[in-house]
Amino acid sequence: MTTPLVQVEDLTIDFGTVRAVDGLSFTLEAGAALGVVGESGSGKSASASALLGLHRGTGARVTGTVRVAGTDVGTAGEAELRALRGAKAAMVFQDPLSSLDPYYTVGDQIAEVYRVHNSASRRAARARAVEVLDRVGIPDAARRARSRPHEFSGGMRQRALIAMALACEPRLIVADEPTTALDVTVQAQILDLLHELRRETGMGLLLVTHDVGVAAESVDDVLVMQHGRAVERGPVAEVLGAPRQPYTRELLASVPRIDEKRAAVPGPRAADPDAAPLLEAVDLRREFGRGARRVTAVDGVSLTVHAGETLGIVGESGSGKTTLGRMLVRLLDPTSGRLRYAGEEIGSFSEKAFLPHRRELQMVFQDPVASLNPRRSIGESVADPLRAAGESDETRIRDRVRELLERVGLDGSRYERYPHEFSGGQRQRIGIARALAAEPKLIVCDEPVSALDVTTQAQVIALLGELQRELGIGLVFIAHDLAVVRQVSDRVAVMRQGRIVEQGAVDEVYGSPQDPYTKQLLAAVPALDPAHAAARRATRSELAAA
């Protein structure tokens, strides 16, 4: 057996006082595929960057040995390192938009990289760029090579990045969360592409991801990381099928599964379909921009939400689900259509007339960083609805805020703390507490868990369920993750291009989808079982061909 393609021994990386990677060792044989899986902060990305010596000159301290394709990354000179980068080992980054220079055409950027490692003419380099773009499935590659990154869709950009990686025929591709920013259907395509390329060229793949499902679909071996250390390594089927370490088990248990029915819900759920709906939208439309640039974000959506029930809304990015959610709580005015709440037509109310109902419709936002004002204490943020309602007794406000914080599982004495002192999941809880402070009848949750790690996701979802049972409020749960939606919803609506393509009881829609788009979506969801994954890959190509 020859020397491994990648050989990492006792790799330790420190950022200032924080140790990101702690004594990591692993190898990767030529042509093999290794998935590095872990939650955020586990050190997986830092390790990947170390393979190409990208920590040089950044202030991070790196010890241990890293050998990639015969180069000792730790001791190599600048020139040697540059010869490694791109030519022998190429990296595919997470965010395809910011990873490309906005000012140059995609073709030129690939050509530039090609010319660094090959003494080719400008023309030849461009030809090579078109060739690899064509290889990664960019239609009309010769023409699209002359486009700038912002003229590409997200999936196309990610393909372009992969093309760049292919340009110099490297022996190793390091892909750092290559699909995280993408919709499921696109994610599936990219994963399929990587799979195919590997099979074709025989290059090694190191895939870094937080999504166990993605790893299951794409690699032979998997390495689970936590707190900078390797927890478990083995063939993918083995690790995912029969985890030996408790952490691995916990991780796997938290992953929502699409094929799992919603657990039976104990307690009173006052979802009486015959009762008058809490909120009813009829033919809601919303347009942005004027004249030639007009875009219809939501195009005639009708739906109802009852007290005590959860309506799930799924869709990919750009499907209009967020716009719809904001209209439901009147953060956005509908362009047309009707919106009835508690028997009143509120769609056309002025801000002033709506004020009495304002606080009864609340929202929990996706980004736990952006949804709390970083310069105000969290207590003040939670107290906002109380003060706005005219409460001025400081003691009563404090008591109520403490009560709410404790209700969502936080320490009630942390009134004076600022958002940055909390983790993402905690901030999401604060957001929920703030929504509850208004004593709402309905809460629209816009991707409330998509920014969270799986273990945290499960906790937040559980909290929402609990509150709903307790308070009998109506929930609208907007998400792109089909598995999550299945877990929480009574009914589900699938959105595409501003319209609802399918709507119904959750088990019906997931069990026997009618609309082709729903089918496509469901097929794109990565499965945890590698064997199953192969079967689904086949289904996908069938669907694509159809």
């Binding site: 902060g41 970083p374 105000r376 906002d384 999941g425 905690q426």
Partner: protein, 335 residues
């Protein structure tokens, strides 16, 4: 410096720089040695200006007493003695023609120059904040009208309006106040543009939506949610405006509409000293040097404040307070 640049520079500050308590801000500021020194210098200058009478008394001088015996009348009034008449009594020498003590005039001049610049800057920031916020939060009409007013403000030539206004206002009106009002009242477009742009960006953030859902009104939102986040870009911008305002005051003096004697100001001293460059160089070099030090300190301080307001800077500064910022987004540590 044109306001466009300032817009550009201040605009580069992050929208809603996340998370920074006052203490961390202070830590980050202190961690930058240049900024800390600059802050000390600025503080010293401000103190000197405030304590001008005290300092002058300490030197045993006042800014208004003539010393005809210390200048050579036949030679145009050039100070007698080397280096512009620097002596134990006159630390910075004396002013040509009058023989007034330069040290006293410089410290009193600091009062006027810094005072005018501070007042003008505050005014620019205040007007800019109000107009910018109103434009960002108001409906399309208000935005249109205010944006046009801002355009008019940009197109108004400062010098022309200053000349006209200074002629209109009765001379009994205190000149430094008037100059501060004129500079502040004519040069606010930059601030309002920044504020409008930043407020529009902030407006789309979720925490502003949350405040609306809580039932807050527009102005309450502006005050509680937007203002604190606007502080970073506005402070940064103000630090850049300040030195510009000092030189504008000097330029007004050059055109003959600046601070009036006997009140000293650096700008006025510079203008007067201009022609004395060869025969009494210290007369020019002292105010010019001080102006330079002030502008330098303020600019460095401005950069420092901007860096300190950006929590991402913490890791660069290696004080370890902001490191978790990035990971924080997606991380939950056993809650």
């Amino acid at each position: 410096m044109s306001e466009a640049l300032l817009v550009q520079e201040a605009g580069a500050a992050p929208v809603a720089a996340p998370a920074s308590g006052a203490r961390q801000f202070w830590l980050r500021l202190r961690a930058q040695r240049a900024a800390a020194v600059a802050a000390a210098v600025v503080l010293l200058l401000l103190l000197a200006a405030l304590a001008a009478p005290l300092l002058a008394a300490l030197a045993g001088q006042d800014p208004d007493t003539y010393h005809p015996d210390l200048v050579d009348s036949a030679a145009g009034g050039v100070p007698i003695g080397s280096f512009g008449g620097i002596s134990a009594d006159h630390w910075f020498g004396v002013e040509p023609q009058t023989g007034r003590d330069l040290f006293a005039r410089v410290v009193y001049g600091a009062r006027v120059s810094l005072g005018v610049a501070v007042a003008a800057t505050v005014l620019q920031v205040a007007i800019g904040l109000v107009v910018g916020l109103a434009a960002a939060l108001g409906n399309r009409w208000i935005d249109q009208v205010l944006s046009r007013i801002t355009d008019i403000n940009v197109a108004l030539p400062l010098m022309v309006i200053a000349l006209a206004l200074l002629a209109i206002v009765p001379p009994s009106f205190p000149r430094p106040v008037l100059i501060a009002l004129v500079i502040g009242g004519i040069n606010w477009a930059g601030t309002s543009k920044i504020v409008r742009a930043q407020a529009l960006a902030l407006k789309s953030l979720d925490f502003v939506s949350a405040a609306r859902l809580a039932g807050r009104g527009r102005w309450s939102i502006a005050r509680r949610e937007l203002l604190p986040s606007l502080a970073a870009p506005v402070i940064t911008y103000a630090a850049l405006l300040f030195p510009v305002n000092i030189t504008v005051e000097a330029a007004l003096s050059f055109l003959g509409v600046g601070i009036k004697p006997p009140t000293p100001s650096w700008g006025q001293m510079l203008t007067e000293a201009d022609t004395w460059y060869q025969s009494a160089p210290t007369y020019l070099l002292i105010p010019a040097g001080l102006l330079f030090v002030t502008v330098l300190s303020l600019t460095v301080l401005g950069e420092g404040v901007r860096t300190a307001l950006d929590p991402r800077a913490a890791s660069r500064l290696r004080i370890g307070t902001g490191r978790e910022e990035r990971g924080e987004r997606t991380k939950e540590r056993a809650s």
